[in-house]
Amino acid sequence: MKTRRRLIDRPAFWGFLFTTPWLIGFLVFTAGPMLTSLYLSFTKYDLNTMQFVGTKNYHKLLFDDPIFLKSLRVTVTYALFAVPLGVTGSLGLALLLNLKLRGQRFFRTFFYLPAIVPSVASAVLWMWIFNSDYGLLNYALGIFGIGGVEWLSDEKYALSAIILMSLWGIGGSRMIIFLAGLQGISDTYYEAARLDGASVWQQFRYVTVPQLSPVIFFNVILGVIGSFQVFNSVYVMTNGGPNNATLTYALNLFRNAFEYFKFGKASAMAWILFVILLVITGIQFWTSKRWVHYEGEARS
């Protein structure tokens, strides 16, 4: 019969002990707040008095809050442009950097640099670039004979300006992950494709894309989640204006919570956001079976 070892001698005990910092943090800063926030979403709460109101917050938000619906529209529009442009842009840069040429190290650094600029500094410097009278962008457009516009103070262009600015950062970690993925594709696939007479485009379409599909999938999911949480740039540059044209979901939520102190309503907004992201991510996982290719599956 095995003698019972003291707790301290068991590796399992130590393993659990080492992971407890995460577990405690998870309970205190994630699980607990999640449940609290779910409860708060059914209340009216302004830090002083709390009143249970049932599903009223949800009902009002979804059916009787034009500002909320506007912020949802703004965010979806942002995501519909920023995610595809951002993902194809960073994939394009990675493909360029993957060409066997000298000096790629420098180009990689140049592409990456904008991604480490702090978001507030980036917002401040882009406001100056977007300045309608003395800004760089209208000056550059002027060289090509295109008349400038009021980028940030015209309702028609403000959101485009925010999307354009976000593209400055496409050379960041997303591109690096693509680049690593590209470097992980074995040359034998390309050699086989070339032997079969595949053109460069066909090699890209039938070798690169399937081989890279898990990475593309990962970047799209993270891109969507990120685009639903745009806050710093709009808070600094436009404060949601003009006429709420750049009022993103996250900015509207922040205002309700920390400017109007409507903590119940803001919690309901947070949970609606969470559910939206879960549904979108679920749909992406579901459709991914058709186009994401995993190495193990192909072999079996």
Partner: protein
């Protein structure tokens, strides 16, 4: 590649580099101009003479000294906390079998998808109850519990690549688990430790919503919120504003160049690199 194709590729690479770098050049150029030259059109790219005094002017207009020190304090505390606690957690996940390990690990990965807004309000209520509003605790303490799922994941992936024979050899020599973590795993994990440290530091330096919610007094602010305040007071002095932005940007660029070698490698190790 044929020479024509090569030339074309270089043309595209150089063209794109110019596009990515021009905002930096524009910022530096504006920051060195005299006020009246800022609003000259077409813009003048190389200001002469260069007005270097814009930097001390911007620096001393508002308490940037204090803000930079505050931000460094918060960022360094978070970085040390995240590396120490995160590597312990990653050690637990990568080297031990215990009941509930996989459930915990997948729960941890799932938290990466949780929008921060869901936990923001109750967390604010906790800190308010504890009387910690307008202190650095709300910014630092959460980082001491592993430093976030992504960091733990990165370190775990790296630890899995270190042969267990090293642990076993150390154990035969009488080393305990803490010693193995400290003497074997950490020294062998320089690339991933550097990556996690740089990412945490960058994240804290960049953080805006956290300080915006928790810090109020002017002397307690961090650079990001301070820069926003500077914008409110000196928004029309574009040369000073650009100088102030560069105060925010420059440390990150320096950090990036110092850590670049490890850093790029570390991101590649995120588990997706080699798939």
């Amino acid at each position: 590649m044929t020479p024509t194709k090569k030339a074309l590729a270089y043309a595209v690479l150089i063209g794109l580099s110019v596009v990515f770098l021009i905002p930096f050049v524009w910022t530096v150029s504006t920051s060195l101009k005299e006020t009246q030259d800022v609003f000259k059109f077409p813009p003048q790219w190389i200001p002469h003479p260069a007005h270097w005094e814009n930097f001390p002017k911007a620096w001393s207009a508002l308490p940037f000294n204090r803000w930079v020190l505050n931000t460094i304090f918060v960022a360094v505390s978070c970085t040390i906390g995240a590396v120490v606690s995160g590597s312990l957690v990653a050690y637990g996940f990568s080297r031990f079998q215990f009941k509930g390990r996989n459930v915990m690990f997948f729960t941890m990965l799932a938290t990466m998808m949780l929008p921060s807004q869901v936990t923001q309000i109750p967390t604010f209520m906790i800190w308010r109850q504890l009387g910690a509003i307008d202190t650095f605790y709300p910014l630092i303490v959460p980082a001491l519990f592993g430093g976030g799922a992504f960091n733990i994941f990165l370190m775990r992936q790296f630890f899995l690549t270190i042969p267990r024979e090293f642990d076993e050899a150390a154990m035969l020599d009488g080393a305990g688990f803490f010693r193995i973590w400290w003497k074997i795993l950490l020294p062998l994990s320089a690339p991933v430790i550097t990556t996690v440290a740089v990412l945490t530091f960058l994240g804290q330096w960049d953080d805006f919503a956290g300080p915006l919610i928790y810090l109020n007094s002017p002397e307690n602010l961090t650079v990001s919120v301070g820069l926003r305040m500077f914008m409110d007071s000196y928004g029309t002095d574009e040369n000073l504003l650009m100088a102030a932005s560069l105060i925010h940007i420059a440390p990150m660029i320096i950090l990036f160049f110092c850590a670049q070698k490890y850093f790029m490698k570390g991101i590649n190790l995120s588990g997706l690199g080699g798939r």
